[in-house]
Symmetry: C2
């Protein structure tokens, strides 16, 4: 067991990520009391049934009061509104963070409402699954994964100390921590996560709408590659809606490049330019080798978690 | 052990699929002698070292002579040329088939050169892996997967009997067999396999070419979705080059629809139309449920085989 880093943890929004944080934090003993706020009565019922928290409420203010770490795990666009609700109740010296896949919009939302007496350190654990809700969470979700924190630059020693504590927290949960500027984070994630999800949602939508090929054929013969896209495209709809809206500029920028490249590829196919195709297909193998060498491909991938519990 | 269906099996081209067919066919005893022809000296050396065949040669004609089943497992565009080389040596009554991901082009290639004395039945086992070559094959590759055969319509009883035998062969290897018109096969596969590969190759290429985000960042933070694309984009470059060239029309047709849909999605993001995004992201979940219900998501996915042997 590690030492208790936060005597009281408040998790606002208890879905896959929120509930996984609680499970992992309790398992390694880095938190004392756990309070959960969630706007959904169904989620609150499950959180109680799963015994995930000491307090369960629909009021974020009640959960956040006296908390040492207030962790927002709601869809990104909800954070600004809820942060405004709790701001006045926050204990001076508390750390305020989140787990969203978009960081600049979250930093702006916090900046607009949070008092100077708390330490705002936005964060993002790069881990997920196609499943949603408090039942889907598990303690090992962050094991061997990266968590990116996007601290404010040029803060004082007290802020540095709060950052150090939050780093210890994520490390105890099994993650490695990186620090990054929030705008760079949003660009990196637009490439490594947001565009892949957009593409996956899109291809599954295209396939579902075909007239000449039935849905049951698409499903039956999905082992040739499509199946992997259906897994990604089963991710939480509201969360991902918010990600694309909150990271609009970076997503559209990367999508523009993707589309340009795809048009060139389309042209190469139309004109039978086999050498261009082969050159690209050979080059992309190197990236795969990098992913394997970097240990980002594990025996137990976080996407595809259902494989463990069929 | 099943009964011997083909006293002599000739496999032309012994990569991932060819070597898996041999391993599976030997394991269940449906073949007697196995002859392999491969144009690569390195592949032949590995086939010998692995003890996969009774005869190993660089000459397809030598392997195909006296064979009861001649199975082409070369990249699709090679089949026409090689088929012409062996046509004269084929035993009357032999079955000629293949394992390519494109069927109309292969059927045309066979039609141009094969004598009337053999039974031509193109085929396609929908199973694969990111790995290539004879060492990558394994006997269980076809277990629980579909193999599509695209027989000529309106053939006689002898042809029907040859088709029945080939169906028994694939069933013995663990696959379920479906019959389909070759043009419909090519459209279905354009959706469920070819477009997913094209998209995966493209996104990995786009990511590799960015200036603002380094390759090491792309690799390091790939767990958010990108990683799954790198796996697909590590598939055999020459094989996939041929697939896109040989199934040009269906691929461009499906790619056109995909691009249209992507433009609509891009517009919805730009204009902040969250309801449109959420509607699509909710709809795509249904397809995923279908994939799981149909048992196409298994504990041991064929893509990502490296997970078993890290």
């Amino acid at each position: 067991m590690s030492q208790v880093l936060y005597p009281r943890l408040a998790v606002i929004g208890c879905g896959l990520i929120g509930s996984s944080v609680i499970r992992a934090a309790r398992a390694c003993g880095v938190v004392g009391q756990v309070a959960v706020a969630d706007s959904s009565a169904e989620v609150r019922k499950r959180v109680i049934a799963l015994g995930l928290a000491d307090e369960v409420t629909d009021d974020p203010l009640v959960a956040a009061r006296d908390a040492d770490l207030v962790l927002f795990a709601t869809p990104p666009l909800t954070i600004g509104r809820v942060a405004a609700q709790v701001a006045d109740a926050l204990k001076p010296g508390a750390t305020v963070s989140d787990v969203g896949s978009v960081k600049a919009a979250v930093a702006d939302a916090f900046a607009g409402v949070m008092p100077a007496s708390v330490f705002v350190i936005p964060g993002h654990p790069i881990a997920g699954a196609e499943t949603s809700g408090p039942d889907a969470g598990f303690a090992g979700l962050f094991q061997g994964r990266w968590t990116i924190l996007t601290p404010r630059p040029n803060e004082d020693a007290a802020y540095a100390s709060a950052l150090e504590r939050l780093t210890l927290f994520w490390t105890a949960l099994g993650a490695q921590v990186d620090l990054m500027d929030e705008r760079h984070h949003d660009l990196v994630l637009a490439v490594t996560s947001h565009l892949p999800h957009l593409i996956a949602y899109n291809i599954v939508g295209t396939a579902a709408d075909l007239e000449e090929v039935t849905r049951s054929e698409v499903i039956k013969y999905s082992a040739g590659g499509f199946r992997d896209f259906t897994r990604i495209a089963a991710s939480d709809p509201v969360m991902w809606r918010d990600v694309f809206l909150a990271n609009k500029e970076a997503v559209l920028e990367i999508l523009g490049r993707f589309t340009e490249d795809l048009q060139a590829l389309s042209r190469a196919i139309r004109w039978g330019e086999g050498d261009k195709l082969e050159e690209l297909f050979t080059r992309t193998r190197e990236i795969r080798r990098g992913v394997i060498d970097a240990g980002q491909e594990t025996a137990e991938p976080d996407f595809g978690r259902q494989r463990r519990t069929p």
